[in-house]
Symmetry: C2
């Protein structure tokens, strides 16, 4: 019996991050029990409008590698996306590749499919117990006592040694922490919300070319489409929350004319009735951004994933950041030789600058996606970035590439980008000055010639 | 029967802001019921270390005027404070008056005394019901149904038309709102906490001169003393939370030597045993800053006072801001002709910029009190402010005066201060330039004279 097997770890939440974290702990031989409030997602039907696609990238893949799931996920669940395909209002299309050096891609993965693979993997560990329909109702932080409401028992009590809260943006673990002194917390809803629209598979490939993330940027709102493995598409309309009632409660013809006006090529792909049904029966959902500090309470309660730092979805980094939390846990476990209490106390200071950076970057990326990608200045900057990246592949890594295709800390990615912006600004000034001086000499020499 | 008397208003919390708000609503003839979770403060003994003094100023007084309590409070409960008395580490003392034009003052008032006067006033209205020991346990925002736990009834249900949450920084009303979509919220604890120390009345007036707020600024920490009507003093030690355990768990001699080292004249005033007892039995308390947006849910739930915008106590504006919320409610009631639903919906947009400004100013004032007041640059700036205020009494109102002695919106006070800073900076540049030019001419004329 190893010392790990005597330590009882409770993981709250069996979503992708909770399942992955449980796998990590199980690999080390800890006595792991997972508690999920919902039923097993593998036996639950997905409701339309809540399918949710994730963009798996380097950080997520890197974490999956530890439990040898990276190739399985990529081969069996994922659709690659090599760049953004922009659909202009005038019907033109152009692509912006994610990576011009090695043609790296993001992987569009259905949340539930990924979750199911992780749960199936989790079940194979002998030292893991998986409990569904266990709703956490109370936490005693002093005694580490957890109370669950289950189908059979309204007050099931357990006393683990360590509790890791992976119960998502609306985390119950965190809700209990908010009452504690010195726990800083903020929840911010952005003004924009979203509506999901499903697009079936029989499509015109000229309009919706496979292997791209399609964007219809329209300034204050946008539509995006992510490919699924079954060749269907998960599309999402983002726009200000206060504009949604106007659309959802409109007459059929007004809804259609809205879609025709702003997303003509997209609307041509979908049967009008199917579109109308989804819009009229759809619900605009809100987008929340969560920040806490610290992520731990005492030395035995920890929050990771969305429970600790839910971000807006515009960088496709929410799940990747949650998976990277597991990688950091792994690193700290080795660094502190499995002294779990120290690991938990060190986690916040080692993670918070990165999670705050990606939170800010995700906000910024919404402006980029719905507005900037349609602007000439953005495309010029992208071209300059591409040239510099070709010349200095090791040092000039554009922001999107460093966030999506490296495991450089998010904060460092942000700092590098700020540095790149400064360099480009200085070069611009230098060129302008040199141009000015050159013009001066040209004018002077011309006037000398004339007077001569 | 007026239309007001048919509208049932529930006020949650019978603290100073809740009681005042109830009085305002009662004046207009509404059917008001107040629910307070604690017992009647008038029959409860105050525990040492939780006496809490307030600095009542113009905004608070202005609100009390509406129910004719301003003079009673000032005459019977308040001790005036005409300025700050700074105690240097070397034993020197100097004062900084609050108002050099009319010698205006802040009023030091005991929270419970003020609360008691307001409750007694409240009881006189026929259209007010006052319920103590009523703990709010649930809110149904759709039906406006409130559930209370009382001594007799574990589930007392009421259904008012309007609910105003005045239940302080740890508000239960707000806790229920946090779960609702589009409710933005943040709680932030500052790194510093406080410990209250009571000083009895038989004092050496040379050291602790009456009618001042005494400050012992020591850079990263400070001690302050506010006078009470019974000639005792309520003193508060503010310092980083992580330093408190070191002090509170120290040996007697170490505690005494800490106080002798940093606050010698203060320590001479208090019997060592009495000081030690308070420190050893004392508890360091945290300081929280709360922000929400919006302050309302639907058109019938509203938060005011600390429940909506708890701030750190360094500007002495917490209660004044809460009382000013009542004044704004009053203003809106008249502006919208008692259409309460509109009043509630309009409150946030009319108030939030001011409450966010005072929240920031209160943070800033901590640096000013514990550090800046001891610096020469601060005292010079104060002198310049005083001169300009004498020259332009209508236009040059220094920040502290505009916050404490006017009812100019907090945001406007902040903007005016930023404008004043810019003007002084420009004038400084102008003087420096003029000085440079003058020096140039002097040097030139001297060298001309010499060469001549």
């Amino acid at each position: 019996m190893t010392f790990q097997s005597r330590i009882k770890i409770a993981i709250i939440g069996a979503g992708p991050v909770g399942s992955l974290c449980a796998c990590f702990m199980a690999e080390y031989g800890y006595d792991v029990t997972v508690y999920e409030s919902r039923t097993d997602i593998r036996h639950t039907e997905t409701t339309i409008g809540r399918s949710i696609n994730m963009a798996l990238s380097e950080r997520g893949i890197n974490a999956l590698q530890f439990i040898n799931l990276d190739n399985i996920v990529i081969d069996e669940l994922a659709e690659p996306m090599y760049g953004r395909m922009i659909h202009s209002i005038d019907g033109r299309k152009y692509n912006i590749l994610y990576d011009i050096l090695e043609n790296k891609c993001l992987y569009s993965v259905n949340r539930n499919d990924l979750n199911a693979v992780l749960l199936t993997k989790l079940e194979k560990y002998q030292n893991v117990k998986l409990n569904f329909s266990h709703k956490l109702v109370d936490i005693d932080f002093k005694t580490t006592q957890l109370t669950f409401e289950t189908l059979e028992n309204p007050q099931k009590i357990v006393k683990p040694d360590i509790v890791i809260g992976c119960d998502g943006a609306y985390s119950t673990v965190r809700k209990n922490m908010i009452r504690l002194p010195m726990f800083n917390y903020s929840q911010m809803y952005i003004d924009h919300g979203y509506l999901e629209i499903n697009l079936p598979s029989n499509l015109n490939k000229d309009i919706l070319s496979a292997h791209y993330l399609h964007i219809w940027p329209r300034g204050t709102f946008m539509l995006i489409a992510l490919p699924n493995k079954d060749k269907s598409w998960t599309c999402t309309l983002f726009m200000p929350m206060d504009k949604f009632p106007l659309l959802l409660e409109s007459e059929t013809e007004n809804i259609l004319s809205f879609f025709y006006k702003h997303f003509k090529d997209f609307t041509n792909l979908i049967h009008p009735k199917y579109l109308i049904d989804q819009v009229k029966n759809g619900k605009a959902r809100t987008l929340i951004s969560i920040k806490c500090n610290p992520y731990h309470v005492n030395d035995n309660f920890l929050l990771i994933g969305d429970a600790a730092h839910a971000i807006v979805p515009f960088y496709g980094q929410g799940m990747n950041a949650g998976f990277e939390d597991c990688t950091l846990l792994n690193l700290l476990l080795n660094e502190y030789e499995h002294d779990l209490n120290t690991v938990i106390k060190m986690f916040t200071s080692r993670r918070i600058h990165d999670t705050e950076a990606i939170s800010d970057l995700a906000f910024y990326n919404y402006t980029e996606m719905r507005d900037l990608v349609a602007r000439k200045s953005f495309l010029w900057r992208k071209k300059i970035d591409n040239i510099l990246q070709k010349w200095f592949p090791q040092t000039w890594i554009p922001l999107h590439s460093s966030v999506s295709f490296t495991t450089i800390g998010y904060k460092q990615c942000q700092l590098n980008n700020q540095c790149q912006n400064k360099i480009l600004f200085l070069v611009l000034i230098l060129f302008a000055t040199m141009f000015g001086i050159a013009m001066y000499f040209i004018v002077m020499s011309t006037s000398t010639t004339i007077s001569a």
